[in-house]
């Protein structure tokens, strides 16, 4: 009996210690917010700067619903744990952030905690935003406060047990999140540092381009090494792999064009990246685009992973060749050499990289690169209304033709991507 009691006491003590630790890990570094202190009014320069930063951070991608008022929230973000609904960022007093001081906003950006003290879900990428400066946070706050207030109550998240519990989120944060400050590398140029700040901070590139563990946390150790986008059936290719989307050996201008116009001599932005270019990067200043490109070019370059040789059957390849001649060659050329606005498929990394997701998605869905100032009237690719077998055959053919050695794609894999 005494043994049981002792065990219970020890267990209780351990729980208390663990709980305290989790609590401490969740609030460490936070400074108390003094609400009595009146805030200095935002300057027009701050508002203007904040408007630019809101585009750099692509806030509207999540915080503006299709057809909805800008920044009024309501859009559902699908995650493997349920749907998180983006909140109203307009300065409405009741439903928006009208009662938030710059300090509250900073706590959300830097510490991932809401004004009412609730822990925020990391679908709001504060793992990245934690790196932004207080001045940038204040400018964003000033810009959002300058918007017209929209009364639109926040929609409760639809998360499964136990993910909807704040306690579960606290444990997650204790394990995977710590507020951080961007540290300048003194041995690197200003542009590199600016690029690093943009890519790792407000640009939150790792929200898609980094792999996630089973708890949905990005793994910072392998920076920007590619990841599947949750529930979207697109693959955000590795930015540190020359065989995927690494740009170490690209001319700087091509990177700037791809991000600034959505189109470059080496390919176009399609799928979720088309949205990023359309809403965000096409509005970046040339200096910021160049800074980003310089930083991306400096990422540790890993040799392309040699793909496992999985061959398609001769019948599949023959079907693929026939379909290619009929469906694709008119634009992409008989030998995949490309024509005018239609990109060459020879050595195109969407075709040759290990993961086949994006190639199959483009064959299935087609699509247009984004309309930008530099590419105001884009050409597009049709959705080829073909069956799983046919799409798999075309994909396998282009992955093995013209000297390519990428693994074949099966009909089952195509079906999973529909």
């Amino acid at each position: 009996m005494r043994a049981v009691a002792r065990f219970a006491i020890v267990l209780l003590a351990l729980l208390l210690i663990a709980g305290t630790l989790v609590w401490w890990l969740n609030v460490r570094g936070e400074e108390p917010i003094d609400a009595s202190q009146a805030e200095p009014a935002a300057t027009p320069e701050q508002v203007q700067r904040g408007a630019y930063l809101a585009r750099v951070g692509n806030c509207s991608a999540c915080h503006t619903e299709r057809g909805g008022a800008p920044y009024a929230g309501g859009k559902g973000i699908p995650t493997p744990f349920g749907t998180v609904y983006a909140s109203n960022l307009t300065p409405d007093l009741k439903t928006g952030i009208g009662s938030w001081d710059a300090a509250h906003f900073w706590r959300a950006m830097h510490h991932g905690r809401s004004k009412d003290g609730r822990l925020l879900y990391p679908a709001f990428p504060y793992q990245s935003f934690t790196l932004i400066t207080r001045a940038d946070s204040d400018a964003l706050h000033a810009f959002l406060r300058s918007q017209a207030p929209v009364a639109q109550p926040n929609r409760p998240h639809e998360l499964r047990f136990p993910y909807h519990l704040q306690a579960a989120l606290a444990v997650w944060r204790a394990l995977f999140f710590a507020p951080r400050t961007f540290e300048r590398q003194a041995n690197q140029a200003d542009a590199w540092n600016r690029g690093a700040y943009l890519v790792r901070g407000l640009g939150h590139c790792d929200a898609c381009h980094a792999p996630r563990n089973i708890f949905g946390a990005t793994r910072a150790a392998i920076e920007l090494s590619g990841g599947l986008i949750a529930d979207q059936h697109w693959y955000a290719p590795s930015l540190a792999d020359g065989g995927e989307a690494g740009v170490t050996d690209w001319p700087l201008d091509d990177v700037v064009q791809l991000m600034g116009r959505g189109r470059s001599p080496r390919g176009s932005a399609m799928g979720p990246m088309a949205e990023v270019v359309f809403r965000s990067t096409q509005h970046w200043t040339d200096a910021d685009l160049r800074a980003m490109a310089i930083y991306l070019q400096s990422l540790p370059h890993r040799a392309p992973t040699p793909p496992a040789a999985r061959q398609a059957t001769p019948e599949a390849l023959e079907l693929g060749q026939r379909l290619y001649a009929h469906e694709c060659a008119r634009c992409h050329g008989e030998r995949g050499e490309g024509q005018g606005p239609y990109p060459a498929l020879v050595n195109h990394r969407t075709v040759t990289m290990g993961p086949h997701t994006n190639l199959v998605r483009v064959i299935l869905n087609g699509g247009f690169p984004p309309t930008t100032a530099g590419n105001a009237r884009p050409f597009g690719m049709p959705s080829l209304l073909l069956g799983d077998n046919e799409v798999a055959a075309i994909a396998s053919y282009v992955r093995s033709a013209w000297g390519h050695q990428a693994p074949a794609v099966t009909a089952l894999e195509v079906r999973d991507l529909r």
């Binding site: 299709r66 088309a274 949205e275 359309f278 024509q339 699509g367 009237r377 049709p382 959705s383």
Partner: protein
């Protein structure tokens, strides 16, 4: 070439080189809006004249303002079609306007209608509703807005002929459940909500069975005010 060649000569040479380069790459790809819109043709038929697939409407020759409203509606979620939304999501208003103008400007022959899939009684009810409406239900005649010839009216009222029955039924159904919405006040939404499903079915069956007249251009003028205020009609 002598490096000190006359500047004009150098310019001509540069021009020729550029032309040669252009002809080597993309000579067969016309730099036109028609070429840019090739992806649309897979579903909407060559030059948007429709196919035998019942759910995809003809878009060629529809009023430009109508087409523009629809493209915006797909982007903003007032119409619901994942393929259309995916295609127009990252297009600017200016490009959507150019696309609308392109399809509106196409004047292509119509195929004969498919045989009616309804009883004579149903077709008669359909025709009555189209030509005269139903005063008791508060439903105006289709012809009151879409024109006596039913081929639409400028600037934004579309033709209702030459459309498959399946497509018409899908639109009526979408209005009823609220996944298709026009600019407020949504006159079509109101009309559809006042009609019983069987009435809508009869209207669709009759419309789809009618031949399209030789001159199917939308009417330049129509009697205004319209029977119901419509947000899509700027008058």
């Amino acid at each position: 070439m002598d490096a000190r060649a006359h500047p004009w000569l150098r310019l001509v040479c540069a021009g020729l080189a550029a032309c040669a380069l252009a002809s080597a790459r993309g000579a067969d790809i016309p730099d036109t809006i028609g070429q840019r819109m090739q992806p649309c043709m897979v579903c909407h038929g060559p030059e948007g004249r429709a196919t035998t697939q019942g759910f995809f409407p003809r878009i060629a020759g529809k009023p430009a303002a109508y087409l523009y409203h629809q493209l915006i509606a797909f982007r903003e979620g007032r119409r619901s079609n994942s393929t259309m939304a995916y295609f127009v999501d990252h297009m600017t208003d200016a490009y959507l306007q150019e696309i609308a103008d392109y399809f509106a400007g196409l004047d292509l022959p119509h195929p004969p209608p498919r045989p009616a899939q309804a009883t004579p009684t149903q077709l008669a009810r359909g025709e009555t509703l189209v030509r005269h409406g139903d005063r008791a239900l508060g439903v105006p005649a289709c012809a009151a807005c879409h024109g006596v010839t039913l081929t639409g009216a400028l600037p934004a009222i579309p033709s209702v002929l030459g459309l498959p029955r399946e497509y018409l039924m899908l639109q009526f159904g979408s209005w009823r459940v609220g996944v298709r919405r026009a600019l407020a006040p949504d006159c079509m939404g109101q009309i559809v909500s006042r009609l019983a499903p069987q009435d809508l079915n009869d209207v669709a069956a009759w419309l789809a069975s009618q031949p399209v007249p030789a001159n199917a251009a939308p009417a330049a003028q129509i009697t205004r005010p319209l029977p119901l205020p419509c947000g899509s009609d700027p008058h």
